[in-house]
Symmetry: C2
């Protein structure tokens, strides 16, 4: 218990560091009036979306909190709301800063590439550190309350409620943000690039601000909430398993009570390592003048991982005097890194050259090549996950499986920082284009953006991997807490429920892809209307009505996200009542298998099409404007909702259904055999 | 045992009926010299492919038979070879007749639509009846031998060996045939429709004969072998389960020995019902002059189902005096029908209108719309399967699950007849085009072809549904025979193996799609070469070298099928040794969940794109030559390998891995805990 003070202290250090970064960013010049104007429009659009999203979310959260209060316990409901609030708040901070960093990054690019990348990375680091610090702090507070003032409710119920709060925010941020961003992007591309023949991010395109807003609400706020959820979920499930094992006083859990506190401390060590890695990136670029931004970012990530491995090794040795838990943590850490590298290969290596080449025989072969690449790319990540699960179990039993999740996510501080760098760089590029910067400045922002694409693809791989481990850990803790000793694949209720579980990721992806389509179609109509009614826009004389386009994406996203969200939320209840509590286990397992594969497939094929198009734009296979380029744009457009809407939304689906099952377990136990 | 005479008699009746149909077809006129020439070229190409495929298959079968003989038992190896032979032989008969019916159908279309459809259906019925009759006869012979002369080896090992033989043929026929047909189709389309601007099936396109050969080797021989495998596999697994339950004398199996003979008789009743349904179709079109061909075919299928339901009800009542097994059979029968209808809706109803409309905003939105439709289309089939599994179990335990598979497949005679009608009609249309028939004749063949598309889509849905049920039944009989009482999802070896199992369908589909791409690319090069070196071809003066194109597809298919086939064959061994025998169970379950979804998704989106294109060609959204039409061709080309190569190949993957696990079980039991 005393050790929990340590995790509070570490999270406070994190806040101080984030505040320092924020001041450092805000004192940088905002740039010309034009840059300021565009940046402000993006910021306003993003905030407007967030506020409206919160209103919808607020209603559903309150209803659900009442259900929790009635069926489970009022304090669990409060803990759920607290989890909601903290995740939403850290997303808000991260996004506010990101939308204040984008224009400043464009401005810094006028001086040098080094300054621009440093600034963009700082903006991302605010998100990374805020999310990690709030995640740890909130969880520690809830846990301490549950073992002091609220002993009757008990820690398992309290912390799972908190975790479910984070999951709800993730649902809205990822699904809503994902639909928003791709409706704007696809809509802008369809009418701009294809119909009007104007380049991407051209200020004459009315949907261009919406597209940039989308990067912030989807890739910054959405990704942040997704990883916040994983971070909290993995930690919570390891604690739940430890508590259950201690309570049932199984001889198979020799660590005893220390196992409950261990995860808190591991994530705290991870936060410290992340801060050190971020400092390395910020200083190394100043000390080694010739260091490429890419090697700085990769170097920082690696240094964090190494520091984390060393200090958690030492800590485990001292605290537990048994290295087995450390090995499980370490397996998770390594898996995260390797999955990132595999993703990088499939979305950037030889495969994308093959896809670009296939574009020379038309859009169909380009699509097919991306497809087969995405499918083949599922092998290695799943093998890695599969063996690290098995290994983690061999070291520390089912507790080890959850620890692998904790290990993968412990250094979230730095990995999310690198992730969030991408959309900021992307925005900076868009602002450079719209504010008519010199070609040299645009070259710099383009190169920042190109590297951001790589980090974004890696980030997606990492997000899926961590979501799968987290969902699996939650699944195991569900079984543990439900006292289910066997989920038997030979029982028909388990098999039947498993098939239905497998369908959900498909159904959900189908819905979200058609949601993007519908909203994009509305966007196309609006842009066409503006071009028609204000002919001055295309001549560059009239300013387009950007705000209308932002509104259309906002409304489309909020409307379309309701049905899939409701399906996710109510499914576990229906399944539990039809197929029983082991059937619910089979259902979760089925969705996990099918979802993990579908998510990796969609994220990687989407990323690969995107980069194949970029390869052609660099001059290969005919370059810009060639038939191959046109074919590759089709691939890219198909890939957009794959990688940024449907794929990432599956992460949420998997985790949310598991956490709902876990939270409502006391209710299910009351009514089911 | 005496009752087995009945199934032999029924299969002999089937043979007589097939011979009657064959004579009836062959006495019809072959038509003009031009028709004869084209039909002969297709027949020669198809036979050449089959012979070369058999050579490759022969080598692998002999090697594998030796392995079976050494590790298991020489008689099981012989039974395996016997299964191979019978399936290959019935495929050969079906395909020979199909390639003799196509030209005759074109010729009959010069007289009337009714005669043409009657002939095309007769051609399909030869395949349907031959496959069912051989399936029953072979299985009965092997079973009788195993309980008389070969009592030491035992029926379980003998009949599973036989079933594995059918699976091997299916592997080569489906995967090889699938690559062949789509390499030719995609290659022909890419260079013909898109580059040279000539219509489909234009005789100037050198790949056009290969395309027509492909329909026969892929859709006739491939589909036939696939369903032969399911038919035998489902029956075998129900017998294996019955034997295991009788041997372990479980009180939970009150039917006792009768349960072993019951499946033989059920499939025999199904064959009789199928013959009656076929007779209905053939006579009804002569009696009711105004009956549309569509209602004749649908009517025949329904009548078969009703007859089968009634006679199997009566038989069950008399033979077992307990209707529970009948209810399980009936659930399977109904599921098959409903899955067919659902498939028909998603590949022909409102969804394809939406997809066609999406083509008006370009290829990307057309692809996305087909995608989301395919994804959403997984829900109903999986719900149906899931509930019929659960229901079948409630009626008759795990034996009931296998019986549901038997029930779904019992009327294979008629469903395969309707299926095989499609490619014959397609070929007849191609031959009409190539032999320059009058527009009225082509209208008739076009309408036959259009209806053939619907039956083909339904057939694919049925093939997947039955493959899933068969694979599940084999999985359950594996567990039963292995005496595994629990496959626990909470054990890490089971979960890890399940993840890996889930990857295989993706890996396999990825490979087969890129195989099509590679082979299609070679085809494009060859066609370009012919156009370049013989400029007279496009002017209609020189005859293209059709044979070279057939060779290219043949070589491409045979080369590309090796790696995926080897992966399927060796995976169960590796998994068994790494994860143990319950791990192998988890592996099979993982592949089943992921594969069922992926197969349905790919088959339905492929079918939907195809029909959306046809809708546009009928004049909607701009009609032929419009931008929407061009966009829809991209969707169709993407969908081709989805629905005809990758999707159906998954059927084989699921069943083959299960049957290999079952056959090698005695070996695994010796070496594994």
């Amino acid at each position: 218990m005393d050790l929990l003070i340590l995790s509070i202290v570490v999270s406070l250090i994190g806040f101080l560091f984030a505040i320092f970064l924020i001041f450092d960013i805000l004192k940088k010049p905002e740039g010309s009036e034009e840059i300021k104007k565009i940046s402000l429009a993006i910021r306003k659009g993003a905030s407007a979306f967030l506020v409206r999203e919160w209103k919808v979310m607020g209603v559903i959260v309150v209803i659900f909190a009442i259900i929790v209060a009635v069926l489970i316990n009022p304090f669990v409901a409060l803990s759920f709301i607290f989890g909601n609030f903290l995740s939403a708040f850290s997303g808000f901070i991260g996004m506010s800063i990101a939308t204040r960093t984008n224009g400043r990054t464009t401005n810094a690019a006028r001086e040098s590439g080094g300054k621009a990348i440093d600034l963009a990375f700082s903006g991302g680091a605010v998100m990374g550190i805020t999310v990690s610090s709030f995640g740890i702090l909130g969880l520690t507070i809830v846990f301490i309350l549950s073992i002091t003032l609220l002993q009757k409710v008990g820690p398992i119920m309290m912390i799972t409620g908190y975790s479910m709060g984070a999951s709800f925010v993730a649902l809205f941020a990822r699904v809503g943000g994902g639909i928003f961003t791709k409706a704007a992007d696809v809509g802008a591309d369809l009418v701009g690039k294809i119909e009007a023949g104007i380049p991407e991010d051209d200020p004459r395109n009315p949907a261009t601000i919406a597209d940039n807003v989308g990067d912030n609400v989807g890739d910054v706020a959405g990704m942040g909430a997704d990883l916040y959820e994983s971070y909290v979920g993995a930690t919570v499930s390891s604690i739940v398993i430890a508590i259950s094992l201690v309570l049932s006083s199984k001889s198979s859990f020799p660590i005893g009570e220390k196992g409950i506190y261990y995860p808190f401390l591991i994530v705290s060590l991870g936060l410290i390592s992340s801060i050190l890695g971020i400092l390395y990136i910020k200083f190394s670029s100043k000390i080694f003048k010739n260091l490429s931004p890419q090697s700085a970012l990769t170097g920082g990530t690696m240094i964090s991982s190494v520091i984390f491995a060393i200090i958690s090794f030492v800590f485990t040795k001292i605290y537990i005097n048994d290295l087995n838990p450390f090995y499980s943590v370490f397996l998770g850490l390594i898996s995260g890194v390797v999955i990132g590298l595999v993703t990088q290969y499939y979305t950037g290596g030889k495969p994308i050259k093959k896809i670009a080449e296939a574009a020379t025989t038309g859009a169909a072969t380009n699509i097919l090549a991306g497809f087969s690449t995405g499918m083949e790319s599922t092998l290695l990540p799943l093998l890695i996950l599969s063996f690290s699960i098995y290994g983690a179990y061999l070291f520390s039993g089912i507790y080890g499986i959850a620890l692998a999740g904790v290990g993968m996510l412990a250094t979230l501080g730095i990995s999310l920082s690198v992730d969030a760098y991408g959309p900021i760089a992307d925005n900076a590029g868009g602002i450079a284009e719209m504010s008519h910067q010199n070609p040299e400045v645009r070259d710099i922002t383009d190169s920042l953006d190109a590297y951001g694409n790589t980090t974004a693809a890696m980030g997606k791989g990492f997000a899926i991997g961590s979501a799968v481990l987290t969902a699996l850990a939650l699944f195991v803790s569900y079984a543990q807490a439900a006292n289910i000793s066997v989920i038997d694949l030979l029982k028909p209720n388990v098999v039947s429920a498993m098939f239905i579980g497998g369908v959900l990721p498909y159904l959900f992806s189908g819905y979200s892809i058609s949601a993007v389509e519908k909203a994009a179609f509305k966007m196309v109509e609006e842009v066409r209307r503006q071009f028609r009614e204000m002919p001055g826009i295309l001549e560059g004389k009239d300013e387009p009505d950007y705000k209308r386009c932002v509104d259309i994406s906002t409304i489309g996203a909020l409307r379309e996200m309701v049905i899939p969200s409701v399906i996710i939320i109510i499914s576990p209840f229906i399944i539990a009542f039809v197929f029983g509590k082991d059937g619910l286990g089979g259902f979760l397992a089925g969705s996990l298998i099918s979802g993990a594969l579908l998510a990796i497939f969609m994220a990687n094929s989407g990323g690969a099409w995107d980069n194949a198009k970029k390869l052609i734009e660099k001059g290969m296979f005919g370059g810009k404007g060639s038939p191959a380029h046109k074919a590759s744009i089709v691939g890219d457009t198909v890939g957009d909702p794959f990688k940024d809407t449907a794929g990432p939304s599956i992460n949420i689906l998997l985790k949310l259904m598991s956490i709902i099952s876990l939270v409502f377990l006391p209710f299910f136990l009351k009514f089911l055999k």
